[in-house]
């Protein structure tokens, strides 16, 4: 690309536009496709970031023609796209829609798919570059990539590429994650497999690295000398909704901690990478993930719960065990909290508390770095009663930004100190025109830019961290020694989670 005379590294107005390419979408009728992928593709086109001739091929077990598929995309774009609907953008996209009906085990269908792709290369100039987006349950990954291989769809000809895109869950434990990697790795090389963890596409998550490594004032205190502990929270106010089939047997820890929260932990705790390319970042992330250890007594340092019926945000809601499709005896947790240690010089002795849950007080994701108390306070005890610990809170969503919490004198009093907030709002809306995570990630797939995608090594390391906890919980269930503790819907989780921090002399922040 560097020999393109119209390109100049100093010309930063010019956006990165993906080269000639197309995408094949498996699972076109699912929520993920309709609410995230299709709108993101439109938004990319609207921002002028897709190549002329970009083509989207749908594959599903439906008796559809191309225009039926176009209608589905049209409806989803109208309902969910971030940017305005413009007829000319739609025209640009619409000519590239194709639909191939068929089952995942249908050889003829995959033959048709291959012909469709070849035709697109011919008619639309996609140049043999195709990404296969598997927006389908992981149980089918094996079938689909097997078919792709068998029908010669996975192999790129000289000078072109084939990539596969998958979504979580990346297995349900270390063994199944390895199995999955085995299936994918047999067909696609590691750097052609793009795992989407949409958290990593968020601007605020990328901002963690900017904040840490572009500034001078945070890094010197970013260690066990000053940091008391770290709390990473992802709370949802909704229940499992209609996802009982997916959620039962998976639970909060597998669903959220394994990927999102451990990725956040690695970004917060990692050492400075030598550069921001994919390889250097991966090295640092893997280093920090491999230095994570668990406390000895898992019964005292983890907590799990299930939401109970009650009132959440003024709405009467059923408990987890009363949700449709959930067995009354289910021991799937909807709340999970764990304590992790990071055994490095920087973090030794600083616990990382990770928690996630459904039906909690509000929807919020944040990372809170809680600092130690000042070693000496030259104030009377009475004047610092309301002074807590200093904290730096990175708000991932919503209300993206950074809060610094510190003590300040209450005006008018003799000397009374109270906690106050200093707020940076990541945009009353920088965010308004900042892209959705999926836009960024899909564009990166088409560009072949991997820094924001976890590789299988990271996935396996995070299962190594989580597996002992999951085993411990399973053992408790079996022995009948414990089960997820019911917690009030609309609150902040089970009492056992509070007790878990109380044992360390700490409390959860109310996020």
């Amino acid at each position: 690309m560097s020999d393109n005379p119209l390109r100049d590294p100093r010309d930063r107005r010019l956006p990165r536009i993906a080269g000639p390419s197309g995408m094949v979408l498996f699972g076109v009728t699912g929520d993920l496709s309709r609410k995230k992928i299709m709108p993101a593709i439109y938004d990319l086109a609207n921002r002028g970031l897709l190549p002329p001739g970009f083509s989207l091929t749908g594959f599903a077990r439906r008796d559809w023609a191309d225009q039926d598929f176009a209608q589905i995309v049209h409806d989803s774009v109208k309902a969910h796209a971030r940017t305005d609907f413009r007829e000319e953008v739609w025209q640009q996209l619409a000519e590239g829609f194709r639909f191939v009906p068929g089952n995942f085990d249908d050889d003829q269908a995959f033959d048709r798919l291959r012909r469709t792709i070849e035709e697109l290369d011919e008619l639309r100039g996609t140049g043999g570059n195709h990404a296969f987006y598997l927006a389908i349950p992981p149980g089918f990954f094996g079938d689909v990539v097997g078919q792709l291989k068998e029908h010669g769809l996975a192999r790129a000809s000289e000078g072109s590429w084939r990539r596969v895109v998958i979504e979580k869950p990346f297995g349900h434990d270390l063994e199944s994650a390895r199995e999955l990697q085995g299936i994918l790795g047999e067909v696609f090389p590691s750097d052609s497999i793009f795992r989407i963890d949409h958290y990593l596409g968020k601007e605020t998550v990328q901002n963690i690295l900017a904040m840490r490594f572009a500034n001078e004032m945070f890094e010197p205190i970013w260690n066990s000398n000053y940091v008391d502990h770290v709390q990473i929270t992802m709370a949802e106010d909704i229940g499992i909704g209609g996802r009982a089939g997916y959620y039962d047997g998976i639970g909060a820890a597998r669903d959220v901690i394994q990927n999102h929260l451990l990725q956040l932990l690695s970004l917060v705790a990692m050492e400075e990478p030598t550069s921001f390319d994919a390889r250097s970042l991966r090295i640092e992330k893997q280093k920090v993930l491999s230095s994570v250890t668990l406390p000895r007594r898992l019964d005292l340092t983890t907590a799990r719960g299930q939401y109970a019926a009650g009132w959440a945000g003024g709405v009467k809601v059923p408990g987890f065990l009363e949700e449709e499709g959930i067995k009354r005896t289910s021991t799937t947790e909807t709340y999970a909290a764990v304590t992790l240690n990071v055994e490095t010089r920087r973090w030794a002795g600083v616990p990382f508390y990770l928690r996630t849950g459904k039906r909690l007080g509000r929807r919020v994701t944040e990372v809170a770095i809680v600092f130690k108390r000042a070693p000496h306070l030259p104030f009377a005890d009475s004047s610092i009663e309301e002074l807590g610990q200093n904290a730096l809170v990175i708000r991932i969503q919503p209300d993206e930004g950074v809060t610094l919490r510190f003590g300040s004198k209450v005006p008018g009093t003799q000397m009374e100190i109270r906690d106050v907030n200093m707020d940076f709002v990541y945009g009353g809306a920088f965010t308004e025109s900042s892209p959705e995570a999926y836009e960024r990630l899909i564009l990166d797939v088409l560009l072949g830019d991997p820094p924001l995608f976890p590789r299988h090594e990271e996935v396996e390391l995070s299962w190594q961290i989580l597996d002992p906890i999951l085993d411990h919980w399973a053992a408790q269930d079996e022995k009948g020694k414990g089960r997820p503790e019911p917690y009030e819907s609309g609150g902040w989780g089970p009492a056992s989670a509070d007790a878990m921090l109380a044992r360390d002399g700490r409390v959860w922040r109310r996020p």
Binding site: M1, D3, N4, P5, L6, R7, D8, R10, D11, R12, R13, L14, P15, I17, G19, P20, A45, N46, G48, P51, P52, G53, R86, E88, V89, Q91, Q92, E95, E122, L123, R124, G125, G127, M422, D423, F424, V425, G427, G428, A429, F430, E432, S433
Partner: protein
């Protein structure tokens, strides 16, 4: 909106602070000050565009209307924090002697430490960097296409006056064209032998685009006229055949290249808020624009 008459900078600053506290948010998330030097008639439209752009770049927006310079100095201002947007705004009307010293009014109202951009929506000064208000800013935005006087020559005048920090919306307007042309050569790295740009007779954007192509490709670029709207066609000739982007309606373009099928590409002419937002995204020197202005002047001289 609070109306202040017979006022001064200190009072305007106090009112801005009061308005912020009244709105319940004493914290300042603003990243820059945007000064708009505007005529009374264009003020409303320009302020609206700035408000829209400030969604991406929360800013203190100071509209300055320079009135009749004769008579006693008089300053009036409308001050407010907007509902529905993130920054704060003051529309300041100057009359009398103070019209010659607008920087004395604006300087005390600049946000501490953060960058300043100044925008002339319609009447750009001949030398933006030498202008009393332009001198306060890191970014000076003119719009040759909206110039009222001397329209045909407006862009050349701005190119002559170019110095670090100057920019023109005529340049901003062609970013999508440039992006598409660059992408075309990414896809097919062909050697371009000559090029042409077709647009309305008076089109500063087309002149800049032609100059940019000439500068980057080191080939002759012809500039021909059509009835518009805006730029209607760009052709890069190569030995294998032409790469052609034609956009007759100002919205949807057709992209053709050698041995490839024709493809439609959305290429809409963008509105002011979008242009302004792009312009405010980066406030350091635009080297490529600097080179393009030089090339444009050379092309004009050799014509």
């Amino acid at each position: 909106m609070i109306e202040l008459t017979n006022t001064n900078s200190a009072e305007i600053a106090t009112e801005l602070r009061r308005a912020r506290v009244r709105a319940g948010s004493p914290a300042m998330g603003m990243v820059m000050t945007l000064v708009i030097v505007v005529a009374e008639d264009d003020a409303e439209g320009a302020m609206r565009a700035a408000r829209a752009a400030s969604h991406e770049h929360p800013a203190r927006v100071l509209g300055v209307i320079l009135g009749d310079a004769r008579g006693a100095a008089e300053i009036g201002a409308q001050v407010g924090t907007g509902s529905g947007w993130t920054g704060e705004t003051a529309l300041i009307r100057l009359k009398g002697e103070v019209v010659k010293h607008p920087e004395s009014v604006v300087l005390p109202l600049l946000l501490p430490d953060s960058p300043v951009a100044v925008w002339w929506p319609s009447h750009p000064p001949a030398d933006p960097a030498g202008d009393p208000l332009g001198r306060l800013a890191q970014r000076r935005i003119t719009d040759a296409a909206a110039a009222v006087r001397g329209k045909t020559k407006a862009i050349y005048r701005q190119c002559e006056a170019y110095t670090v920090g100057n920019t023109d919306l005529a340049w901003t307007r062609i970013t999508p064209w440039r992006a598409l042309l660059a992408a075309a050569l990414d896809q097919q790295p062909l050697k371009v032998t000559r090029a042409s740009v077709t647009a309305e007779r008076i089109s500063p954007s087309a002149d800049l685009l032609a100059a940019w192509l000439a500068d980057r490709l080191k080939v002759d670029v012809t500039r021909t006229s059509s009835s518009g709207p805006g730029i209607t066609e760009v052709v890069l000739e190569t030995r294998e055949g032409p790469i052609r982007i034609s956009r007759p309606d100002g919205r949807l373009a057709t992209f053709s290249s050698p041995d490839r099928p024709d493809r439609p590409v959305a290429l809409k002419r963008r509105e002011l808020p979008e242009l302004l937002a792009e312009e405010l995204r980066r406030l350091d020197e635009d080297d490529v624009y600097a080179e393009t202005t030089k090339r444009l002047l050379r092309m004009e001289a050799s014509r």
